[in-house]
């Protein structure tokens, strides 16, 4: 079985380069049979990688410890779901997951376009298979998941494996990495279509229309993956920190920021035929940031709680990035004459301008995060001195940028295309502006004096009101015209333009996330030693330690503190934070207890037991639940945006047909 898995990957690495060559040659020589064989080869690669993946998963589920990867990432005590998740628990398996997702995406793309875009598809196939070949090289020659344990020249097996890293034994492990990878890997598809469009010297937007939904779904997976990671860090790391500007966290954020910029600026190309060069650059940047993120996570260049161990894999990623970026830049520069704008701006106060500033802020924040992640490495390479760019550095930079972006989120959609009149500005911004200023004043009066939280709450209300006003005005018009109730009118309004109103919901999701993050300015914490029977207070809560329980199972030895929670004398609930010692790895991990409410979370960590006293870390995190709620609204808004609109939208395209002299006479 182990030979079959390795053989499948070897077969795949022979077929994938064939697909590249056959696609390219077939397109150039207009040989349809060769192109067709290349597409069949894509299905073949998908089949081979799928078989290899299935064999690895089977090895995990059957505890086949002849496989070195299985032995180092699994053990008997793991539940079947964690054994399955151990597939992506280490370097080799997660690279195989990447290859499998890429192969599957490629097969789906080829299948869906088997009867259309025949001029572009050979090049799309070639680019997909070039990327596939790269990852297969890693799977076969650098980080093979099918290495076997051997002793004295013959196969052997250990009695039990090392088990999965205890920090990874959390329910999110089953879903967070695959979701994030779906986002990372999916970015190759719009990139491939964009490059194919350039290679074919197309002036139109076929690649954008074809990949619009694909880009949106990929963006959604990335965003949800990032939020899932934050949720996991919040619950698993013991101090309620959902975002620490860790290099690996930053790596996941970078492509999401650039693809957010792309999803906005692409509207300019669709409606006005503008920013073609910019969009081609953005989608390329998004793809290469995915590769860079993977490089940073795996190469050991940055140290992180999320990173894999150091490995020599970094130089392969660096080479792929260098060659890919050089080739892409060359192609874009070569095709500049085909990417000229078809229209011009009429006014600075217009939606077109707001998109430009939106892109500026998103990409400035992307650059700031990238700079903060790479600067310690660059500085150490140049000067030899290690420097620290930690959370306070990032927060000083990113908070004002983020607030300005939040402001643009409210302002941008209300600017009209072409130009916005003063009357329109007054109508759209007056009442949300007044309401926001009022809120800030009230908050100031009741005692909130920190500048950034005040501004954040003010902007959140501003954006929310502008969005609600859009829904209200449109639904009111439909309700009165069609004689239907208001709720039905909102549904009808949304269905008529799902992209627009789905996008508005996504903006609301961002507002909710900002509200949740702003709550961090009001966190309370307490670290104290208590005996059983004693009480402590944190915020408005009284915590009384009732008893200490302990126990063990096949996997862990655990100890928990049973704590009664009271507020204003009223009993609320019992929380039971635990400390666990994993038998296989001898590693100690805490399992926090959280009381989640919309207004605040009460978060308890059982840190230590010493001299008859237990050390409790108690936190009150106001508004943090709004971040996770925002995640659900993000999913809802994006799904709505994916639904086809009731009314087919067509935009009048403009095209430069010629140049005339000045003061031309209009013919009668």
């Amino acid at each position: 079985m182990e030979n079959t898995g390795a053989l499948c990957l070897l077969l795949a690495i022979c077929i994938a380069p064939y697909a590249v060559i056959a696609s390219a040659v077939g397109a150039m020589k207009r040989n349809r049979l060769l192109v067709l064989s290349a597409e069949r080869a894509v299905y073949g690669v998908c089949f081979c990688v799928s078989v290899a993946s299935a064999i690895l998963v089977y090895a995990f589920l059957t505890d086949d410890y002849r496989f070195a990867y299985v032995a180092s990432n699994s053990n008997h005590a793991l539940s079947p779901s964690y054994k399955f998740a151990a597939w992506w628990g280490g370097q080799e398996g997660s690279l195989l997951l990447w290859s499998w997702l890429l192969a599957t995406y490629s097969a789906v793309v080829v299948f869906l376009n088997r009867r259309k875009l025949r001029d572009m598809m050979p090049y799309v196939t070639a680019i997909l298979m070039v990327t596939q070949s790269f990852f297969l090289i890693l799977n076969v020659f650098v980080a093979s998941p099918f290495r076997m344990l051997a002793k004295d020249g013959s196969l052997t097996a250990v009695l039990d494996g090392n088990g999965l890293n205890p920090l990874l034994q959390y329910p999110m492990m089953r879903i967070h990495p695959p979701i994030l990878y779906l986002g990372y890997v999916g970015m190759v598809v719009p990139f491939a279509f964009a490059m194919a469009s350039l290679i074919r010297k197309q002036k139109g937007d076929a690649w954008i229309h074809t990949t619009r939904r694909w880009s949106l779904v990929t963006w959604l997976f990335q965003g949800v993956g990032v939020l899932m990671g934050a949720f996991w860090a919040y619950a698993a790391l013991g101090w309620g920190g959902y975002w620490n500007w860790d290099p690996v966290e930053n790596s996941s954020l970078l492509p999401w920021l650039s693809s957010t910029a792309f999803l906005h600026s692409v509207m300019m190309q669709e409606k006005k035929g503008m920013m073609k060069v910019w969009n081609a650059t953005l989608i390329s940047a998004s793809f290469f940031l995915c590769i860079l993120g993977t490089d940073l996570t795996r190469s050991g260049v940055v140290s992180s709680v999320h990173a894999f161990a150091q490995s020599p894999i970094g130089k392969y990623f660096t080479s792929f990035l260098a060659i890919g970026i050089a080739a892409t830049a060359y192609l874009i520069l070569q095709r500049l004459e085909y990417l000229k704008s078809e229209a011009q701006l009429e006014s600075v106060v217009s939606r077109e301008s707001s998109f430009l500033f939106n892109n500026l802020i998103l990409l400035a924040s992307c650059f700031a995060v990238l700079w903060g992640t790479l600067f310690p490495i660059i500085s150490e390479a140049v000067s030899g001195e290690k420097i620290s760019l930690d959370a306070p550095w990032f927060n000083r930079l990113m908070v004002p940028i983020g607030l300005f972006l939040l402001f643009l989120t409210g302002v941008g959609p209300l600017f009209a295309w072409r130009r916005t009149s003063t009357e329109s500005l007054r109508r759209n911004f007056l009442w949300p502006g007044v309401a926001s200023c009022s809120l800030v004043t009230v908050l100031f009066v009741v005692g909130i004096r920190d500048f950034y939280p005040l501004i954040s709450f003010g902007f959140c209300l501003f954006v929310a009101l502008t969005v609600f006003a859009e829904f209200y005005r449109g639904a009111r018009a439909i309700a009165s015209k069609s004689q239907i109730n208001f709720a039905a009118a909102i549904v009808e309004l949304t269905h008529r333009n799902t992209r627009r109103y789905g996008g508005y919901l996504v903006h609301i999701a961002i507002v909710l996330i900002f509200i949740g993050c702003t709550g961090a300015a009001f966190n309370k914490d307490l670290t104290t030693d208590v005996k059983v029977g004693q009480s402590v207070e944190v915020g408005n809560y009284e915590l009384r330690v009732k008893e200490i329980k302990d126990g063990d199972n096949e996997n862990v030895i655990w100890q928990s503190a049973v704590i009664d929670v009271r507020k204003n004398g009223e009993f609320l609930q019992t929380l039971e934070p635990r400390r666990e010692l994993y038998k296989a790895s001898r590693q100690q991990v805490g399992q926090v207890a959280i009381r989640r409410r919309l207004n605040e979370d009460l978060y308890l960590n059982f840190a230590l037991m010493r001299d008859g006293k237990i050390t409790i870390q108690a936190y009150v995190f106001p508004l943090v639940c709004w971040i996770w709620t925002g995640g659900f609204v993000l999913i809802l808004g994006t799904l709505i945006a994916l639904v086809p609109s009731k009314m087919k939208l067509e935009y009048a395209g403009t095209e430069l047909v010629g140049i005339t002299k000045k003061h031309v006479q209009v013919e009668q």
């Binding site: 620490n244 940055v302 011009q344 600075v348 001195e385």
Partner: protein
Amino acid sequence: MASKNQKIDILRVGSRIACQCGCSDTVATCSMYGCWSHQAKQKIADMQATGSLDSAIIDDFKRAYGKDIYRGEPNTFGWMIPYLVLVLGAAVIVWYLRRARWPRLPRLTDPRLTHYQEQIEKELQNLDR
């Protein structure tokens, strides 16, 4: 320089010392309770209580754990670049707005064109529906 808040003083020095618990944080930002950063903070506090300067405390840690424990501050270059990029980007946008703006043409006054101008305005207003 000592501040009124001892915690600030400890974190100021702690932000220059790498935590040795295996995380990527400094002593100031590592939040794992019971890990090395806790005793490091205690040591910093004890040395500050005897009047030791920040540099002397850091040198003491370097002698005990090696010079790699030190984490320097980002220099001016490290701080400036993101803001420079933001300003540069804004300048590029301003340049693009000026370059890409439709030139102001003399308005055509032929009354026969009024009907067509009104139709164009009406259709463009519906562009986003």
